[in-house]
């Protein structure tokens, strides 16, 4: 038995919880995090219902068809969340390469004839009658993979910051999914993954030079993409419309303009759930997925939409808090990566409906309709809870000797 093998047994002791302790464990969960997630999924379900009701009625379908599917997804996602919370996050070291490989396969399949093109982007694959969006799976997979790589040696609290080799390995691992997502092309996901990579390298403690260099590369990359016509016309239009939405209110600026009209017309208290004229008139496209926030803005007003922002803020605050109290680098990187991922995606999604970010096809975490994203997000919450349950300052009683 090598020294390493010994250390492994000593340090890495998976902790499953004895049945008798389960109630106690529930109490030790981050309840604020859990509550905000549950409330967000609840509000999200109502918004999905409101956004799809009229369309379904017109098509002669049951008006709660999307709602039912959404609720089923949420329920399944919560089970996944519980399983992830129960699982010791350190086991993810083993799972990381598998998750990463699966997500890469998914991203390749999307580009194959199995992929389905929606709104100019091949983001879906159909499998056994279900649509799966691999780019949504790629984000948590990459967070886990980067966390494992950047956390360095698998044992114990890290004493040294991530080395140059770690960073290079991380960059190499990130380059694959980024390249595949660009090919779709799904610009929103590229942005999110880019931010995740830079933030996680930052969190890993690597030298500041890396962070600056990566930021510069990202900026140059953006310019190159625009210059070399790597973007399709619709994406360029979206960006042009972002800088001046009045340019073409019926063309590229249409989504941005209609989103702002829907939200702005909601006022302080909104028009009431199911009462939104812009929503029932379906003026905003993709309203149950990427533009779900406009339903909240119109029907629930600043009171309701603001509450969603506050709930997301609480969620992100708790995520950061969990990262700060993590017992090891892996946990800190995992929680930090998840916080950055969800935080930036929330900002991009809501920001685009408010006209402060360019339009990009990304769902609003925990709120939008869409199974893959919901599973990924709730699994991430499970990981956060798992880290929280096994944090530094828990009483010795919970860590069996």
């Amino acid at each position: 038995m090598t020294d390493l093998g010994y250390q492994m047994r000593r340090e890495f002791r998976p902790r499953s919880l004895a049945p008798a302790r389960r109630i106690a464990v529930l109490a030790r969960l981050d309840c604020l995090l859990l509550a905000s997630v549950l409330l967000l999924t609840l509000v999200g379900s109502l918004l999905v219902w409101s956004a799809t009701r009229v369309r379904l009625e017109r098509a002669g379908e049951p008006t709660d068809q999307f709602l039912q599917r959404h609720l089923f997804t949420v329920a399944l996602g919560l089970v996944l969340c519980a399983l992830m919370a129960r699982l010791d996050y350190r086991r993810l070291r083993v799972a990381a390469p598998v998750c990463y490989a699966i997500s890469l396969v998914g991203l390749v399949l999307v580009l194959s004839p199995l992929g389905v093109t929606v709104n100019g982007s091949d983001s879906w694959i159909r499998l056994a009658g279900q649509s799966i969006q691999p780019s949504e799976l790629a984000k948590p997979a990459l967070v886990i993979m980067l966390a494992v790589v950047l956390a360095g040696a698998p044992f114990g609290p890290r004493k040294e910051p991530a080395s140059r080799d770690d960073v290079l390995r991380a960059l190499a691992l990130a380059a694959l999914p980024i390249g595949l997502v660009i090919l779709q092309p799904d610009l929103g996901t590229v942005m999110v993954i880019g931010v995740i990579v830079v933030a996680m390298i930052l969190i890993s403690g690597a030298s500041m030079g890396w962070v600056v260099a990566l930021g510069t590369v990202a900026a140059l990359g953006a310019v190159a993409v625009a210059r070399l016509h790597l973007l399709s016309q619709y994406q360029l239009n979206r960006f042009a419309a972002f800088t001046n939405p009045a340019l073409d209110p019926h063309g590229a600026g249409y989504n941005a303009n209609q989103a702002r009209i829907a939200i702005g017309s909601g006022g302080l208290f909104g028009k009431g759930l199911f009462e939104g004229t812009q929503t029932s008139g379906q003026f905003v496209p993709e309203q149950h997925t990427d533009f779900i926030f406009t339903v909240a803005g119109e029907e629930l007003g600043f009171a309701g939409a603001g509450a969603i922002v506050v709930l997301l803020g609480i969620l992100l605050w708790r995520a950061c808090r969990i990262a700060l109290r993590a017992r090891d680098s892996l946990a800190a990187l995992l929680a930090g990566g998840i916080a950055v991922w969800i935080g930036f995606q929330v900002f991009e999604n809501i920001g685009m409906t408010l006209g402060i970010m360019p339009i990009a096809g990304l769902p609003l975490p925990f709120v939008s309709y869409g199974g893959t994203a919901m599973f990924a997000n709730l699994a991430a919450i499970g990981i956060l809870q798992s880290i929280h349950l096994r944090r530094r300052d828990v009483s010795p009683a919970s860590t069996p000797s």
Partner: protein
């Protein structure tokens, strides 16, 4: 975890939470700060003003038969603004529509493009913001497809619309009388609030003349719509007010008979050889039936004609080409009131009246020689044989040219000949003006032609306008023509030289030609009909009228369009009677004897005059003018066929046919006008909106 990681996590936390705060702030700004502005934008998004076109009024004949009505039809329209919003500017959608409607996509695309300089027909002449109708009378199943697959057909609507319907009572066409509708142009809409709300406006004929009565007031409906423009609910509306109905003096049955008679005359012409043994071309023609007692037009026909229903839903490229082609004879032109031509011998009664007014004794004998010498030119007696000295009455009946040459030349000499006196009397030209020639009759139809009286003033003006070119040609000749037709080139050069030197003068040959309705004189058939009506009624010039009354949508009379006297021909009543009686003799022992053979002239003495007008470079034009049916005439009828041959051979039998229909003679058991004569009362509206024939007082 290193301290560095912890510090950086704190930074990340601050960044993330500041993003959240940014979102909240922006949300506040948008919803509370500019909420009102966006609420207005949402309303604009949502509320559409839908114009409910007013039901257009009917156009009725004097018996209440609808000449123009309305019908509901499924119309497919294309909203260009929605198509332009498509990524491919609507090409795919248009392709689907073309396949659905089974039409050519290129033709469809050209019909919805906007008319601009450089854009050929067909194109959309209306407002760019209005949906362009591309198909009428669409099958119900096709319309349902458009409605149900709104996702596949953005910007395409299929709805029930009212369009003009032409029931053709008794088979009457009356295209040039009725006219047609066309889209309101952007410029027109900008100038008028009332027009801005409408799609169609009367573009020709009665539809245009009485547009402001017929059109009504459109209603507006404010509706809530969704993103595809589908109506969700009606918010408020102002109902439309239907247009008023126009009762005309036209009798559909007489109109039908007249159109038929004209067509027969055209056919006769085209089967008759001219002196060169070519068939007459018979390229256009017209006929007018007028009530001499008040100027009412009972029937008016023009050839070539068209089907006014072609305009419903827009013309196709082929239809437009046909309607505006020279080869088809410009079917859009109403020959009866827009086509001017020399009247030939039918003008002689006016010359005779001029002579009477100038003091000539019409009963004296004037030499009807075979030719009349003016200077070095011999003017032949075209129409008749040579007789000895005859009265003007007989000269009219046998249509002797030389008698009128003689009178005209004598008058011309009295006015000073080639050295005219200060104020020449020009009695025949003055009489032409007396009869209203050279001026629009004022008929209630747009774009009437005034015709032309080539008097001294006109000659001077014309010479001034053309002398430069003529004087140049007098010098250079016509070398390009000389190669192929040296005789004609020589003639033209001589003509140019003469015209250059003395073109402003009224020459003897001008005066002589004018007396028999030749030369530069142009009359419309309508003008001639009015002149004969004046001869028949003792000298009153009526403004020809077609509109008789405007009746509101509720059946109440809104406006009576009374007959109007525009003047009295200043001729001694005895002279007028002389001319009228002379013309009655034409059927007895003059040029119309053949036309009226077997006609009960004792019971129905009909005044008539034939005319065969020479037209430079064309075959002669056939004219026939008549009035009747008795000593208290009621109707004046004029018919003409361009390149149609003689008056008696081509037009005469058709005019007789119209008289037979009016009087119930020949193949007609009874007069085609119910009650035998034009009604004075108006048709009455029934409760269901249709019209009952007018009630007649006893004969």
């Amino acid at each position: 975890m290193t301290d560095r990681t912890r510090r950086r996590l704190v930074v990340v936390q601050v960044l993330i939470l500041s993003l959240v705060v940014t979102l909240a702030g922006r949300l506040w700004q948008l919803q509370v700060g500019s909420g009102d502005r966006y609420a207005r934008a949402a309303t604009e998004n949502l509320v559409r003003e839908v114009v409910e076109p007013a039901t257009r009024g009917l156009i009725l004949d004097s018996a209440g038969r609808p000449l123009v009505a309305n019908r509901s039809t499924l119309v497919v329209s294309v909203d260009r603004s929605v198509l332009d919003r498509q990524p491919d500017r609507g090409t795919a959608v248009l392709g689907r529509v073309a396949r659905l409607l089974r039409v050519d996509q290129a033709e469809l695309a050209s019909r919805i493009r906007l008319c601009r300089p450089g854009v050929g027909r067909p194109c959309w002449n209306g407002s760019p913001y209005r949906p362009v109708p591309v198909a009428t009378d669409v099958d119900k199943r096709v319309a349902l497809q458009v409605l149900e697959r709104a996702e596949d057909f953005p910007g395409i609507t299929a709805q029930l619309e009212q369009v003009r319907d032409y029931p053709r009572p008794a088979g009457a066409n009356a295209a040039h009388l009725l006219g047609y509708l066309g889209p309101v142009t952007e410029a027109e809409a900008a100038h008028s609030d009332a027009l801005g709300l409408r799609d169609l406006i009367g573009r020709a004929g009665l539809e245009r003349q009485y547009d402001r009565y017929l059109r009504g007031t459109p209603g507006t409906r404010y509706v809530a719509v969704d993103h595809l423009g589908r109506v969700v609910q009606t918010l408020r509306e102002t109902p439309q007010i239907a247009g008023s109905h126009l009762v005309t003096t036209i009798d559909a049955r007489v109109q039908r008979v007249t159109e038929q008679a004209l067509r027969e005359a055209m056919h006769r012409a085209r089967t008759t050889p001219d002196y060169k043994d070519r068939l007459f071309k018979g390229d256009s023609g017209a006929a007018v039936v007028m009530d001499v007692t008040d100027g009412s037009i009972i029937a008016m026909a023009s050839w070539p004609t068209y089907d006014p229903a072609d305009w419903v839903g827009g013309l196709s490229a082929a239809e437009y080409r046909y309607l505006t082609s020279a080869k088809a004879g410009y079917p859009l032109v109403g020959q009866a009131f827009q086509g001017g031509a020399p009247p030939g011998s039918t003008f002689k009664p006016i010359s005779a009246a001029g002579a009477a007014k100038a003091g000539y004794n019409l009963n004296a004998g004037y030499g009807c020689t075979s030719a009349f010498q003016v200077g070095n030119r011999a003017f032949k007696n075209f129409d008749s044989l040579a007789y000895g000295p005859i009265t003007v009455a007989y000269a009219l009946q046998v249509s002797c040219d030389t008698v009128f040459y003689r009178l005209a030349y004598d008058m011309w000499i009295k006015d000073g000949g080639n050295r005219p006196v200060d104020h020449p009397k020009d009695p025949m030209f003055a009489m032409a003006r007396e009869f209203g020639f050279g001026k629009r009759t004022g008929v209630d139809l747009p774009n009437e032609s005034p015709g032309r009286v080539p008097d001294r003033a006109w000659k001077l003006a014309y010479w001034e306008a053309t002398k430069d070119e003529l004087c140049r040609r007098a010098k250079t000749g016509y070398p390009e023509l000389a190669r192929t037709d040296p005789a004609r080139a020589a003639f033209l050069t001589r003509f140019a030289a003469e015209s250059c030197a003395q073109g402003y003068q009224l020459h003897a040959y001008d005066a002589v030609n004018f007396s028999i309705g030749q030369g530069d004189l142009l009359l419309t058939p309508l003008q001639l009909a009015r002149a004969y009506a004046a001869i028949a009624n003792g000298g009153t010039l009526w403004r020809p009228r077609i509109g008789k009354a405007i009746i509101g949508p509720d059946g109440k009379m809104i406006k009576k369009l009374a007959p109007k006297k525009t003047g009295r021909v200043d001729v001694p009543p005895s002279a007028m009677r002389y001319v009228r009686e002379a013309l009655v003799g034409t059927a007895l022992n003059g040029t119309a004897r053949g036309v009226f053979s077997g006609w009960p002239l004792d019971e129905f003495p009909v005044g008539s005059k034939t005319g065969t007008a020479e037209v430079f470079g064309k075959q002669p034009r056939s004219w026939f003018a008549a009035f009747g049916p008795d000593n208290k005439p009621r109707y004046a009828i004029v018919m003409t066929v361009s390149q149609g041959g003689t008056g008696s051979g081509t037009s005469g039998p058709s005019v007789r046919k119209i008289f037979e229909a009016l009087l119930g003679l020949g193949e007609y058991q009874q007069p085609v006008i119910a009650g035998g004569r034009p009604p004075t009362a108006l048709p009455k509206m029934r409760r269901d909106g249709s019209f009952a024939p007018p009630i007649r007082r006893g004969r």
